[in-house]
């Protein structure tokens, strides 16, 4: 179980996360949704260790990991797919997958990882991870690096952004299987109904707070009703 206790994060006099507490259980699929700027990515980065909270604690199975660095958390089984994939100079898709698996995998193994995200592998494997890849290709490469690690806690920040409908469906299947196959936690930040519909639990963030968290059944109807009655609800942040 992963526990966040009373996390605060303030920058430029703005309370980006305001006393956030959260418990995530094993073998569950969580979706975080909420308006732009509500603090979803910041929360995910704090879990991964990319940002440090000003106060509050993070516990993994009861052990305090608040002070652990990014790589220490990676070695504990945390994985994080960035909302904006990072570009490199001279590092290829294959290089990145080798780093991700921590092994000298051969091209065949690398291809089988890429095929999970629907990339026709041999065309991509030797490409540099830079802006010469299309937005969707970059995004899928980013997701593949996280899948390659078979993480115990997998966080995906808006994984579907820029991904076509066809790939989307198989990607959803991958997310669903991930937590079950290694009894881990899957946490996906998304605005997409299609993702919310496969989550066990949906978390709604607004202005640095978790305002609602409940089972999909209880949440979906109420979220989409709200958006309908106050049109442009996504823009409020």
């Amino acid at each position: 179980m992963l526990e966040l206790i009373d996390i605060c994060f303030t920058r430029d006099h703005k309370k980006i996360l305001d006393h956030v507490s959260l418990q995530l259980e094993k073998e569950k699929f969580y979706a975080i949704t909420g308006p732009n700027g509500s603090g979803k990515s910041t929360l995910a980065k704090i879990i991964m260790g990319i940002e440090r909270p000003d106060s509050g604690r993070i516990l993994l199975d009861g052990v305090d990991i608040t002070e652990k660095t990014i790589d220490e958390r990676a070695r504990l089984g945390f994985g994080f797919a960035f909302q904006q994939p990072v570009c490199f100079k001279g590092i290829t898709v294959y290089d990145l997958l080798k780093i991700a698996t921590g092994k000298e995998i051969d091209k065949k193994e690398a291809c089988s990882i890429l095929s999970k995200v629907g990339l026709c592998a041999l065309d991509y494997i030797d490409r540099e991870v830079n802006n010469s890849l299309s937005g969707g290709e970059l995004k899928r490469t980013e997701i593949a690096t996280v899948l390659a690690r078979e993480p115990k806690l997998a966080i995906f920040d808006e994984p579907e952004a820029g991904i076509d409908l066809w790939s989307f469906r198989s990607l959803n299947r991958v997310f669903q299987q991930l937590g079950r196959s290694n009894s881990g936690i899957t946490l996906v930040i998304s605005h997409q109904e299609r993702i919310l519909n496969i989550a066990d639990t949906i978390i709604l963030m607004e202005e640095g707070h978790i305002t609602k968290m409940d089972t999909r059944e209880n949440m979906v109807s109420c979220i989409f009703q709200e958006v309908k009655c106050c049109s442009g609800g996504e823009m409020n942040g």
Partner: protein
């Protein structure tokens, strides 16, 4: 050839055996050590003994020519003038460069002045590697000068690589590119400790549709210093692109001096320069894949200089 010499040769040539080359010329401590020619590739010592002339006959296809220089004598200053004449339609790969092993106190230096004359439609891939080693106090200095003259429709791609051990270097490259000819230069330099490296490109795009692409990637670590200057002159309809991209670490310093001079309204010249430390997001991404900060830095630099 002893072990030290063999190792230097490997560092410069980066392939298994010099015997695979179609022609070669090994210069060791200022003297000819071994040479091989073939019917299409002639190598002759200059009469005054200052260097060699390499002549590739027209229409020669896929020749590989190795021109390594090695220095193991501390205190030696070796100056050499090599001229390459590449005939019409010939297509060759030339691997040159210098390896210095300096185990003592005196300075070892090599100044290689290479001139290339490419006839119409000649194609050359030129790889130049510089490497130095040795625990002695004596400085290892390498100053390569390359002068390139390119006739109509010719193509030259030059990779220049200096990643280890060279204390001081001044690298000068001058080129005159005629109608429809293309010059591509990829430079990779890594300096550390108190090393200094200076690079200067002067390219004149003289004829219609001449083009030139220079990409310089460098890493300056510790207290090292690098200077990059380039001047591209466009005299006609032409395309010139210079990209200088540097990573600095610790107290490393890099200075980039761009100059582009469009002397014709049809000239299209671009200069880009970026200097900075490794992007935080790159480190974080690799650390999130399980690398330590140090390992992540190394992976980023290795990729950058690949």
């Amino acid at each position: 050839m002893d072990k030290v010499e063999k190792n230097l040769l490997n560092e410069v040539l980066n392939h298994d055996s010099i015997e695979q080359a179609d022609a070669y010329n090994i210069r060791a401590n200022g003297h000819l050590q071994k040479r091989k020619e073939n019917p299409y590739i002639h190598i002759r010592s200059k009469k005054d003994g200052t260097g060699i002339d390499i002549e590739v006959l027209p229409d020669t296809l896929f020749g590989i020519i190795d021109i390594p220089v090695i220095i193991t004598e501390s205190g030696l200053t070796d100056i050499v003038y090599n001229d390459f004449y590449i005939g019409k339609n010939a297509n060759v790969t030339i691997v040159a460069g210098c390896g210095i092993h300096n185990h003592a106190e005196k300075q070892s230096q090599h100044n290689g002045i290479h001139r290339f004359f490419l006839e119409e439609n000649a194609k050359v891939r030129y790889i130049e590697r510089h490497y130095a080693e040795g625990k002695g106090e004596g400085k290892k200095v390498l100053n390569p000068t390359t002068e390139i003259s390119m006739k109509k429709g010719s193509y030259l791609m030059m990779d220049t690589i200096q990643l280890k051990g060279v204390d001081e270097s001044i690298r000068i490259t001058k080129a005159n590119v005629e109608d429809g000819a293309t010059l591509v230069i990829n430079e990779k330099i890594l300096t550390n400790n108190h090393q200094t490296a200076t690079t200067d490109f002067q390219v004149t795009l003289g004829g219609g549709n001449a083009s030139c692409h220079v990409v310089s990637r460098s890493v300056a670590k510790d207290d090292s210093y690098q200077e990059f200057s380039s001047n591209i002159i466009g005299k006609d309809l032409c395309y010139g692109h210079v990209e200088c991209d540097a990573i600095i670490q610790e107290n490393g310093r890099v200075k980039a001096i761009p100059e582009i001079d469009a002397q014709s309204v049809d000239a299209n010249l671009i200069h880009e320069a970026t200097i900075g430390k490794i992007a935080g997001s790159q480190l974080m991404k690799l650390m999130s894949l399980g690398l330590s900060e140090k390992e992540a830095e190394n992976a980023i630099i290795t990729g950058f200089l690949k």
